[in-house]
């Protein structure tokens, strides 16, 4: 069964939990990526690498506007056109205008979360453009009309058979289970698109402020294609994706590759510094860079600046036991997994628009352990929960429950009598259902729907302590 990402949160989660294929596909892939990450980080001084990338990115954020201006002036000097977009619609309009001005009809795209974030494909299709995703995984989900479910592995939720079906249905491919055959077909189809496209769009893994270079990282080579073949090349980049120097870029590149897929280096890291010049054989004639805020400055102001260190490697998704159970679509947002649960609400105009996400985590900390920039994701999730409470976005019953609990616990007398009552009550109740409690009233039925609960102890620790002290003649 498919996860319907327009359904309410609870339903999406339930749909995901009900899909046995999903768990198999997702946990197999995430385990594989996690093993690869650990091995490749262990092969080098992984901890030092993480600390250094964090230090570098932290410095960028502290001097953020300066680096942005440096990047802007260098890009301009190199012949690129720089655009600034405050919100989704602004970015959509900018890219749409570039396409219309150049009479582009066909756009080829390299996988990019920033463009997913602004729903760019949809915005371009509305004005009659044809947009083709060229990353193999993105291509498959575009054919299946689904959004990506993982930052670096967009089709992680589908098994081989399901992908084969998509190829059969949408591309009239004769039935096959051979990944090489599917790949060859995709290569042939997409090759036509690359040669025919009037415009290429990509995101940006990082931009080097000191030289004004845009770096994109791919294993398939589609990133090089979209940035080399069409006449017009448009980059949509989040304004936080900056590094100061070339050496910093190389450092981050290695942290990114090792954390994302466990590779020493990606197959292609392509750096574009500007448009084609007189005498160049190929390369785009125009390079446009759209600097996208879309909530990033809001996120900083709200106190979630640490999440802006993120280099979008996906390691936290792979490490997350919740993500393994439900996959990406259940989150219902462009970014999912632990980092998605943080930045989706933190970027949004109102945090409470995504009030379920900060609670969609057991706060186990596996994500922080995996993160190449050591973002304290559990802490940020806790902060978001607190913000939700401040905004009165939490359920009334919950607020009442926690407040009563806090006042009960503030008095030893009330605490002790509560303990006694609970002991008597729960033992009576448990006695009726034969030892363990199997049903409880709401909201505690959330517990007993899946688990048993044992009754309170007949005699508390403090009673034992008191009796023992008496026996020993102490007070």
């Amino acid at each position: 069964m498919q996860v319907d990402f327009n359904a309410p949160y609870k339903n999406r989660v339930q749909q995901a939990l009900n899909d046995p294929n999903l768990r198999v596909a997702v946990s197999k892939a995430t385990d594989r990526m996690t093993d690869a990450r650990l091995a490749s980080m262990d092969a080098v001084e992984g901890q030092k690498l993480r600390s250094q990338v964090r230090q570098m990115k932290q410095h960028v954020l502290r001097n953020w506007p300066d680096y942005l201006q440096q990047l802007e002036s260098n890009l301009t000097r190199n012949g690129c056109t720089v655009h600034w977009a405050e919100e989704t619609e602004d970015a959509q309009n900018i890219v749409r205008d570039i396409a219309l001005q150049n009479s582009a009809k066909l756009v080829v795209k390299s996988k990019s979360m920033a463009t997913e974030e602004i729903h760019l494909n949809h915005a371009l299709e509305e004005v009659g453009l044809r947009v083709v995703e060229t990353d193999l995984g993105e291509y498959i989900i575009q054919l299946a009309d689904e959004p990506p479910s993982h930052i670096v592995a967009p089709v992680i939720h589908k098994r081989l058979e399901e992908i084969a079906e998509v190829f059969q249905d949408k591309l009239d491919m004769p039935p096959t289970r051979e990944p090489t055959k599917m790949t060859s077909l995709a290569r042939a189809r997409l090759r036509q698109e690359f040669f025919a496209a009037g415009m290429g769009i990509s995101g940006c893994n990082f931009a080097i402020a000191e030289t004004g270079a845009i770096c994109i990282v791919t294993n398939e080579g589609n990133g090089r294609m979209v940035s080399s073949m069409p006449r017009v090349y448009v980059v949509v980049m989040g304004i936080e994706k900056l590094v100061p120097t070339v050496e910093d870029a190389f450092l981050q590149l290695q942290a990114l590759c090792r954390s994302a897929t466990g590779q020493n280096l990606t197959v292609y890291c392509s750096m574009t510094s500007g448009p084609r010049q007189e005498g160049d054989v190929d390369g785009p004639e125009q390079v446009h860079v759209v600097l996208l805020d879309n909530g990033r400055s809001r996120m900083l102001a709200r106190g979630y600046g640490e999440a802006l260190l993120c280099i979008r490697c996906g390691a936290c998704l792979n490490a997350c036991p919740v993500y393994q159970e439900i996959g990406g679509h259940a989150y219902g947002s462009t970014y999912n997994g632990p980092i998605g649960a943080v930045i989706t609400p933190a970027l949004a105009p109102e945090i409470s628009r995504f009030k379920e996400l900060p609670h969609a985590t057991s706060l186990c900390g596996a994500c922080r352990e995996a993160c190449p920039v050591k973002i304290d994701l559990p802490r940020l999730l806790l902060d978001l929960r607190s913000d939700l409470v401040q905004e009165n976005a939490s359920p009334k019953t919950e607020a009442w429950g926690i407040k009563s609990y806090a006042s009960l616990m503030s008095s030893r007398r009330m605490y002790e009598s509560l303990g006694k009552m609970a002991s008597i009550g729960s033992n009576l109740y448990a006695g009726m259902s034969g030892g363990n409690i199997k049903f409880m009233p709401p909201p505690l039925n959330g517990w007993t729907a899946y688990r048993d609960f044992a009754p309170f102890a007949p005699k508390s620790f403090r009673q034992w302590w008191k009796e023992r002290s008496k026996l020993r003649g102490q007070t």
Partner: protein, 281 residues
Amino acid sequence: MHKATFEQRPNRVALFVTCMVDMLYPGVGIATCELLEKNNVEVVFPEEQTCCGQPAFNAGYRNEARKLARRFLSIFGPLVENGEVDAIVAPSGSCATMTSHFFEVLFEESREEELRRQAERLASVTFELTEFLVDVLGLANTGARLQGKAAYHPCCHLYRELGVDDQPRKLLDGVEGLEVVDLPHADDCCGFGGLFSIKNSGISAAMGRAKARSAQQCGADAIALCDVSCMTHINGILSREGISCRAHHIAEILNNHLGNSLRPPSQPEPQQPDHPRRWGD
């Protein structure tokens, strides 16, 4: 986090028993108390203590959490500051994390510098039980004996926030007769997560079932762990799924509370545990 080093072996500690152990699992508290006393550490139990406020903090209710944190500091603070006790010991990685990590967060946020510093001072002498036994008392063996197969599950707060992992494993290895096996995917969260287990009960239970499958896979009779909250969740799942393996708090294993063997005796021999036992069904 900075931990105090002791010039002399501490001989008196305050027991922060935690509300769950107090009311639901007194056996764990008794075991903790006896383990410390056996090793010549006097235990003080401040009877004013209730809950550290973790549920409120976890759910985002920081004002309520601060209220309970202040209360905790007012009970335990003077004991430490007046030198009445050398350390605070808790049989829970999660509650120890609350008092030794998150209290500081709370008072930093409210800019109550004095309280933040007090929390920091207390944090440096707050220990989870196994951490105290191994790192401070230098213990490797508690003299426990138990027949059967056990696997260790590292609870997330203990493992990732406090960085305590070798200590409980070492103590388990020292239990005579106990075969310790590796739990597959041991460091995956069991899915408890406090409020998460109710708010997202479906996901929480799915994670719990994954843990239960791991337990079955390694053939353990028992899962040893250091937090009764995770234990409640795991046992609730195991019981509901009809799996005979049970999770036990490590203190009960280390203090011989579970009888001679983890396996049901072939002939039912009357076994009377000294202390209230739970999940014995």
